[in-house]
C-alpha cells in the first residue's frame, strides 16, 4: 500500500502514515541488501562475537554437565527454596520469547505494518529463547535422561501423568508453543528461502536452500493458501501466546504459597513476558541494525514504536504491582502481609526495589521522544528491563518461598557458582544461536516487506480499473 497515495496530499506530516522504509527501496534492492549476508564471509567482528558467546555457552554446558554428574545438590536450592535459579531462568526465557510471537501474530492480526521489518528476527529470538527455557525444567528434573516420563505414554508401570497438575499443563503449553513458533517461523521463511535458492550459485548452500524451500515457486494458487494459512496461524498463535505465560503462572497461582496464590498472576505474567521480550528485541535489533547496515529498513520509527510498547507495558507492570500489593493488604491475611513486606524489606528487600526501579521507574524515561530515539537511553532502559524482569521472578519465587507459613522452616537462599554458571551459559547459548541465525538466514522477512513497499500492490497506481 502506498501511504502517499492513500492520504490527501495536504495532510500534515504527523498525521500521515509513517514510512516503513527510508530512501528508495525496491524489491530487488531489498533482496540485494538483505539476502547478500548468507552468501558473504562473515566479518572478523562476527567471529570474535561468536567465539565469545560460544565460550560462555561452553562454560554453561560444563556446569550443566557437572550438575548431571553430581546431581542438583550442586545448586543452592534447599528446603524450603526448592525452586530457584532453574525456575527463574525458565520463566525469564519463556517470557523473552513472547515478544516474537506478539510481533508476528498479534500485530499481524491487527495489521500493524511496522511488524514486517522486525518480525523475522523477533520470531527467531522466540525460538531460541524457548530452547533456552526448555533447558531448565529438563535439568531441574535431576535425571534428564528420564525426562520422557513427563509425557503420557503407556508404560510398564501402568501409571499416567497427573492431568490436574499445572506442571504438566506447562509441559504441554511450552512444547506446543515451541512447535507452533517453529512452524510459524518456517512458513514465513519459505518464500525467502526460495529467493535465496534462486540467487545462490550452485553448491552445497544452494542444495540446502533448495531442499528447505520445498520447491516453492510463488504460484498464485499457492500464495492464496499460504496467506490463509499464515492468517490462521497468526490467529492461533495469538491465543497461544496469551495462554503460555498464563499456564506458566498457574505453576505458581494454583499453589497456596503466600505471594503466589493470586488471581492477577496470568495477565501479570503475560504483560511481564511481553515487556521483557520487547526489551531484548530492542537490544538485539540495535546491534543487528548497526552491524549489518539496515538503518533504511529497521528505521527510527520501528525502534520508537517498540519503545512505546515497552513504556505501555511498564505502566501495566506498575499497575500489576499496585494491584498485587492491594490484594495482599485487603486479604487481611497476616502471613500475606509478611510476604509482601518481605518483598521490599528483609534479606532480599533490595531485589524488590531493584525490580520496581528497573521495571517501573526507569522505563518512564521513554515518555520523552528524545529517549525513544537515542540508542544510549534505549539500551539503558532495555538493559534495566532485562535485569528488572529477571529479579522480578527472583522476588516472586525465592522471596515467597524462603519464608512461608511455618517459621521453623524459614531459610535463606544462596545461589552457588554452578547456578550463576548455568544462567550465564544460557545467555551464551541464546546469543550464539542469534549470531548464527543472523549470518545463515535472512534477518528480515523480505517477502513480507516487498508486499508493503510503495507500489507493490495493484490498484493504487494511475491506471486503476
Amino acid at each position: 500500500m502506498n501511504p502517499e497515495a492513500s492520504y490527501p496530499s495536504g495532510l500534515p506530516q504527523t498525521l500521515r502514515a509513517p514510512a516503513m522504509t527510508v530512501g528508495t527501496v525496491t524489491p530487488g534492492s531489498l533482496d540485494d541488501q538483505v539476502l547478500r549476508f548468507p552468501a558473504q564471509a562473515p566479518p572478523r567482528k562476527w567471529y570474535l562475537a561468536l567465539a565469545f558467546t560460544s565460550l560462555v555457552a561452553c562454560i554453561g554446558m560444563g556446569f550443566i554437565g557437572y550438575t548431571f554428574y553430581t546431581g542438583i545438590g550442586a545448586w543452592g536450592n534447599n528446603s524450603p527454596v526448592f525452586w530457584a535459579f532453574d525456575i527463574i531462568n525458565f520463566v525469564f526465557w519463556v517470557g523473552i520469547g513472547h515478544a516474537g510471537t506478539l510481533i508476528s501474530a498479534i500485530l499481524f492480526v491487527f495489521r500493524k505494518r511496522w511488524r514486517n521489518a522486525i518480525a523475522r528476527f523477533a520470531e527467531a529470538m522466540t525460538i531460541f529463547a524457548v530452547m533456552c527455557a526448555g533447558l531448565f525444567p529438563l535439568i531441574h528434573v535431576g535425571r534428564p535422561w528420564l525426562a520422557f516420563w513427563l509425557a503420557p505414554y503407556p508404560n510398564q508401570r501402568g501409571l499416567w501423568t497427573n492431568f490436574r497438575s499445572p506442571l504438566l499443563w506447562d509441559v504441554f503449553a511450552v512444547s506446543t508453543y515451541f512447535s507452533v513458533s517453529l512452524m510459524f517461523w518456517y512458513l514465513g521463511l519459505l518464500p525467502d528461502l526460495a529467493s535465496l535458492r534462486d540467487r545462490t550459485a550452485p553448491g552445497i548452500r544452494k542444495t540446502l536452500y533448495t531442499i528447505l524451500s520445498l520447491g516453492w515457486r510463488g504460484a498464485a494458487s499457492h500464495w492464496q493458501h499460504y496467506e490463509k494459512a499464515y492468517l490462521l496461524l497468526a490467529g492461533l498463535a495469538t491465543g497461544l501466546v496469551l495462554s503460555v505465560h498464563s499456564v506458566v503462572s498457574f505453576d505458581f497461582a494454583t499453589s497456596i504459597v503466600p505471594g503466589w496464590h493470586m488471581t492477577i498472576f496470568p495477565p501479570y505474567f503475560v504483560v511481564g513476558a511481553i515487556f521483557a521480550g520487547f526489551a531484548m528485541v530492542v537490544m538485539v535489533l540495535i546491534v543487528v541494525r548497526e552491524s549489518m547496515d539496515l538503518q533504511n529498513l529497521i528505521t527510527d520509527f520501528h525502534l520508537e514504536v517498540m519503545n512505546k510498547v515497552i513504556l505501555g507495558m511498564s505502566c501495566l507492570m506498575g499497575y500489576a504491582y499496585v494491584v498485587e500489593a492491594f490484594t495482599a493488604w485487603y486479604s487481611m491475611n497476616p502471613i500475606l502481609h509478611h510476604t509482601f513486606l518481605n518483598y521490599i524489606s528483609g534479606t532480599y528487600g533490595w531485589a524488590g526495589w531493584l525490580t520496581m526501579g528497573c521495571n517501573v521507574a526507569i522505563p518512564q524515561l521513554l515518555w520523552f521522544r528524545h529517549c525513544r530515539r537515542s540508542y544510549f537511553w534505549m539500551i539503558l532502559v532495555a538493559l534495566g528491563v532485562t535485569v528488572g524482569m529477571w529479579f522480578e521472578r527472583f522476588v516472586i519465587i525465592v522471596v515467597s518461598l524462603h519464608q512461608d507459613y511455618l517459621p521453623s522452616a524459614w531459610h535463606n537462599y544462596r545461589p552457588t557458582l554452578v547456578d550463576y554458571g548455568i544462567l550465564l551459559g544460557s545467555f551464551g547459548i541464546f546469543f550464539s544461536l542469534v549470531l548464527l541465525f543472523a549470518r545463515v538466514l535472512p534477518v528480515i522477512a523480505t517477502t513480507e516487506l516487498k508486499a508493503i513497499l510503495p507500489g507493490a500492490q495493484p490498484g493504487h497506481g494511475a491506471h486503476h480499473e
Binding site: 512447535s179 507452533v180 512452524m183 520445498l214 510463488g218 499457492h222 490463509k228 492461533l236 499456564v247
Partner: protein
C-alpha cells in the same frame, strides 16, 4: 524439442500483471497461472481461483484436537488409572481445559501449516518446470510471471502472441521435463546400499541408546552413593573392611548379647514380655511379615507362598511343637531349624518374644477346649 508444458510471460509490476490477466484469460488457451515474488492482492479473484478450504480444515481439526485431548485425559485419569487430586472427582473436566486448548492449537497449527504445504499446494515439488526456467530467478525476486499451461490441443505460438499482446516483456516456453526410467540398475543398487547403511546406523544407535546409555555415568540411577554396602572395602577403617564388629563393650539397641548356640541352651528361657493386647498385636504383625510366608497365617504349615525349594514348612499345631517351651520357640527363631534360616538379623529381641506369644495364641485358638468358649 519436447512437449510444451507452458508458455511464460514476464512483467515488471503487479499492475501490469493484473492488467494482463483478463486479456490472456479471455483467449481461453489453457489454464492461466501467475507467479509472483510476494502475495498480490486480488490475484485470486482475477484468476478465478476457488476460495481456500483451509479455514474449514483447520476448524475441523481444531475441534478434533479438543475432543481427542478431552477423551485421552478422561480415559487416562478417570478410567484406566483413577486419580483423586485435591478431592476432585477423577472425571471432572475443568482441569483438562488447558491441555485441551494446547492440543487444539497444535492440531490446528499442523493442519494449517502442513495441510497448506502438503495437501493444497502439493509441496515439496522440486521437479516443477517453472523451477527449471530462466524466469524463476526473477519470480522470487521482483518479477511477475503469467503462465498459460498446455492442455489438449495447445498451440504455443498463439499463447506467445496472447502474452505479447498483453504486454509481457519477455516470453519463455517451458518444456515438459524429460522423465527417465526410474528403476535403473544403479538406482536400485544405490537404494539398497542406502537402506543397508540406514539399518546399520539406526541399529547401532538403538543398541547404544538401549543397552549402553542407561548404564553410563551419570545415568546410573543413584547407584553411586556415599555409603558403604556390605562386603565393600573401606579406606576409612584401618583393616580396610567396610563391615566392622561393634566397638568393644557396646551393645546395639534391642540386641542383648546372649551367646546361645544350641536349642538346649534356649529351652529354659522365660518370655520376658507380658501377655497384653499390644504385645499380641505386635507379635501378629511380626508373624505376618516374617513367619506367615511359610508357616501360613494360621500357623498350620500351609504357606501363603509356595516354597520353591520344596521344603515342607512345619505345622505349628502338632503336639510336638505345642509341647515346646517358650524358650525353645525363641531359640528356633534365633537359630533356625532344618531348612528354616535364622531370623536373628531380621527381628529384634522383643519382636521375637512377641511372636512367641502370638504363636501360643494361635495354638490355643486352633485347639480350643470347651472352657475357652465358656
Amino acid at each position: 524439442m519436447s512437449e510444451t508444458f507452458a508458455v511464460l510471460g514476464l512483467f515488471d509490476s503487479a499492475d501490469a500483471l493484473m492488467e494482463a490477466i483478463p486479456k490472456v484469460r479471455a483467449k481461453a488457451l489453457g489454464r492461466v497461472e501467475a507467479y509472483t515474488p510476494y502475495p498480490v492482492h486480488g490475484l485470486d479473484e482475477a484468476l478465478g481461483l476457488r476460495r481456500s478450504p483451509l479455514g474449514g480444515m483447520v476448524l475441523v481439526m481444531g475441534v478434533l484436537g479438543v475432543l481427542t485431548a478431552l477423551l485421552f485425559q478422561w480415559w487416562m485419569s478417570a478410567v484406566d488409572y483413577p486419580l483423586v487430586t485435591g478431592g476432585k472427582d477423577p472425571s471432572s473436566w475443568q482441569a483438562f481445559v488447558p491441555i485441551m486448548f494446547e492440543i487444539m492449537v497444535l492440531f490446528a497449527t499442523f493442519t494449517a501449516g502442513l495441510g497448506m504445504l502438503l495437501l493444497l499446494n502439493r509441496l515439496p515439488h522440486w521437479g516443477h518446470p517453472v523451477l527449471q526456467s530462466q524466469a524463476i530467478r526473477g519470480i522470487t525476486r521482483d518479477r511477475f510471471a503469467l503462465a498459460v499451461e498446455a492442455d489438449g490441443a495447445f498451440d504455443p505460438a498463439s499463447a506467445r502472441s496472447a502474452l505479447a499482446d498483453a504486454g509481457a516483456l519477455e516470453i519463455e516456453v517451458l518444456p515438459v521435463p524429460a522423465a527417465g526410467p526410474m528403476f535403473t540398475a544403479s538406482f536400485i543398487q544405490r537404494s539398497l546400499a542406502g537402506i543397508a547403511a540406514a539399518c546399520v546406523v539406526s541399529g547401532s544407535l538403538l543398541y547404544w541408546a538401549i543397552k549402553l546409555m542407561p548404564v553410563l555415568p551419570p545415568m546410573v540411577h543413584m547407584e553411586n552413593q556415599p555409603k558403604l554396602d556390605p562386603q565393600e572395602s573401606s579406606t576409612f577403617f584401618k583393616d580396610g573392611h567396610g563391615m566392622q564388629l561393634p566397638v568393644a563393650g557396646t551393645v546395639a539397641r534391642g540386641f542383648l548379647p546372649f551367646a546361645m548356640t544350641t536349642p538346649e541352651q534356649s529351652a529354659g528361657l522365660v518370655n520376658p514380655l507380658p501377655r497384653t493386647p499390644a504385645v499380641l498385636a505386635r507379635g501378629r504383625a511380626q508373624y505376618q511379615v516374617h513367619c506367615a510366608v511359610c508357616h501360613g497365617v494360621l500357623g498350620d504349615g500351609v504357606p501363603t507362598l509356595t516354597a520353591a525349594y520344596g521344603a515342607k514348612p512345619a505345622n505349628l499345631h502338632t503336639p510336638a511343637i505345642r509341647a515346646y517351651s517358650d524358650g525353645t520357640l525363641y531359640g528356633t527363631i534365633v537359630l533356625g531349624k532344618n531348612a528354616m534360616p535364622s531370623y536373628a538379623a531380621d527381628m529384634a529381641v522383643d519382636d521375637r518374644w512377641a511372636v512367641v506369644h502370638y504363636v501360643r495364641a494361635l495354638q490355643r485358638a486352633l485347639n480350643a477346649k470347651d472352657e475357652d468358649v465358656r
